[in-house]
Amino acid sequence: MPDQQPNKPAGVPEDSSTELSSAFPETPTLGAMGAQPLLEKEDLSHTPPQSAEAVSVVDREVARSLWQDAWRELRRNPVFLISGVLIVFLVLVAIWPGLFTSTSPLTCDLSKSQLGPTSGHPFGFDTQGCDVYARTIHGARASITVGVFATAGSALLGTLMGGLAGFFGGWIDAIISRIADIFFGIPILLGGLVFLSVIPSQSIWVVVGFIVVLGWPQIARIARGAVITAKQQDYVTAAQALGASNSRMLLRHIMPNALAPIIVVSTIALGTYISLEATLSYLGVGLKPPTVSWGIDISAAADTFRNAPHMLLFPAGALCITILAFIMLGDAVRDALDPKLR
């Protein structure tokens, strides 16, 4: 095999080993960083002066899977740490808003309409005289719920459909891919305006369902490609040659190796789904009062921006930070799971 350093970002040749390599158990070995090979058995027997020591050193090195490597990579990435802290905070807010405010977002006092920040009410009041801080805190739940469940739903559906299409190919692939194309072709805002305005229910789950229906083709495309790539690898052929069943090949060999790009795209999509919910709510077809949502509040505040900018700035700021946090997370996850994409 010829030298390949220039093709590898890290520039470290693949075949490399000495007995010393195992003395550095902390060396990361993710993807392009090159293998961290071990002592060959022959070496042990042929180099008696070093063998005893070498064996004990080898034993100390832990075996790490690629997932574990990715996790180590993530932990060292400041982007992940910042977004991670933000997301943990946002999730806490979404689950227990009561921890952060004792004011109810629905107790409003019209006499305080559009008042600016005062003590005890740091974000001021909206047109209805509701506390903007309380509404911003309580609005997190809608955004996070929609984001998380819409992502989970479209990832599951998309992976299933894309996985089947990629694995079986042929007419199954043709049918699934065409269906995905149809959904992919629907403009998401137009679809939302039409679809959500004819559905009477205003439950959060309708919005989640709508996003899943329009969002799965994106994941399915990625999943299909990843499955096709993984399917062509020799280890799948090897499993087939051993007599493995289709389900074994799909679940043990193909899926674990196709998962990384699906996770990456899903995490990045999460941010966009949150903004989509806000957009739909802003347009009046997403969530509706009395549900508390940033999108609804931004919509309501837009008309009075000149008189009471605080009404718009606080929920909009919260939305921006949330979306940014999830997109940063997606970026960090991509860097860790799919170094080639960098």
Partner: protein
């Protein structure tokens, strides 16, 4: 993968055959007129076949128990497709693969699973042939999960460690992942996986071509040592003629989907009678400048024609310096050429050429 009802008796026959012992020197695998054509289609919805890539087009040979049969040829000659068809990873278009006398080319279900235990494969690329998400123990232990009858559950870890030991790796490495090993070590893991089911036949498709020169020798030695230890029959596919000569008892040369010459290693390397074999051998660089001074090099003109549209008659004629009109009309058969028939020279071996002639191109004895 449909298994018609009529195949049931055949299935039982195959399962019975799998258990049958074969004497050393008897054929264990007999390939007869094997064809694999990949259809070329046009149209998106209604697919119309407009031709076929004749990757393997009428190949016959025997693999004897305990021997190594080398298959050489350039890229596109069909040698890798041949391996896949023998492994039942691709279905043959026509022809037979007789394993201990039973045709396995259409086997399915239980019969196929039984065959898989006895015919295993070693792959070319040690970087893509091991699942990066599985530990070495899971990779080598997977054959036991698929064929639980080979090793009872409690013994599996021990069996895997024994296999690691057999291929020269430290049994302690059982919990490591493939990316923690070098290319040569990974290839050993692949070999251990192939050995797990105690097969009788191993088909090795370019098993060392992705490895460094200094590591190649280690793996070749390991393969030879395992053959002696477990009485394996190898089909060794490679493009490197030197390695094939080293490891093989007999050698077959493929060109554009056909076997053009087959014989013992001495017959092929010292008395090649097919012009393609002669050109191939003369082109191999020998790592010894003084040794090659006496060698005459045959430089072929042109490229290999497309297997979708092979030349009529002899497929090699478009690049052959001996080609005459006869070559474009009559397909030469793989048999002992007439000029050598009945003689006891090493040149009297099967060669598919109308104008076969014994030429020593390698130059040394």
């Amino acid at each position: 993968m449909a298994s018609p009802v009529s195949s049931v008796p055949a299935e039982e026959a195959i399962e019975a055959a799998v258990e049958k012992p074969v004497e050393r020197g008897e054929p264990i695998l007999q390939v007869r007129d094997l064809e694999k054509h990949f259809p070329l289609t046009q149209g998106i919805l209604i697919k119309k076949q407009v031709g076929a890539v004749k990757a393997v087009d009428g190949v016959s040979f025997d693999l004897y128990q305990g021997e190594t049969l080398g298959i050489v040829g350039e890229s596109g000659c069909g040698k890798s497709t041949l391996a896949k068809v023998l492994m039942n990873l691709e279905r043959a278009t026509a022809g037979q693969v007789l394993y201990k006398g039973e045709d396995i080319s259409r086997a399915s279900g239980r019969a196929l699973k039984a065959i898989r235990r006895n015919i295993q494969m070693v792959f070319q690329d040690p970087y893509t042939s091991l699942n990066p998400r599985m530990t070495v123990g899971d990779i080598i232990g997977e054959p036991f999960e698929i064929h639980p009858e080979v090793a009872p559950k409690g013994d599996r870890r021990k069996a895997v460690q024994d296999l690691l030991d057999v291929v020269g790796l430290n049994p302690e490495y059982i919990n490591r992942y493939p990316h923690q090993f070098s290319g040569g070590q990974r290839q050993r893991i692949g070999i251990a996986r192939g050995l797990a089911l105690k097969p009788e036949v191993i088909i090795a498709d370019e098993p060392v071509s992705a490895l460094d020169v200094s590591v190649q020798a280690q793996v070749i030695n390991l393969l030879e040592q395992l053959q002696d230890e477990f009485n394996l029959s190898y089909m060794f596919i490679a493009h490197d003629l030197s390695i094939v000569r080293h490891i093989s008892d007999r050698v077959g040369v493929m060109y554009l989907g056909k076997m053009v010459e087959i014989g013992s290693d001495e017959e092929i390397y010292e008395h090649p009678t097919h012009p393609y074999t002669q050109a191939l051998l003369s082109a191999v660089p020998v790592p010894d400048p003084s040794g090659r001074e006496g060698r005459e090099r045959i430089l072929l003109s042109g490229d290999i024609p497309s297997p979708a549209n092979p030349p009529s008659g002899c497929r090699f004629r478009t690049r052959c310096w001996k080609a005459q009109e006869k070559c474009s009309i009559d397909v030469p058969l793989l048999a002992v050429p007439e000029v050598f028939r009945g003689q006891s020279t090493p040149a009297a071996h099967a060669s598919a050429c109308h104008f076969a002639e014994d030429v020593d191109v390698v130059g040394a004895g």
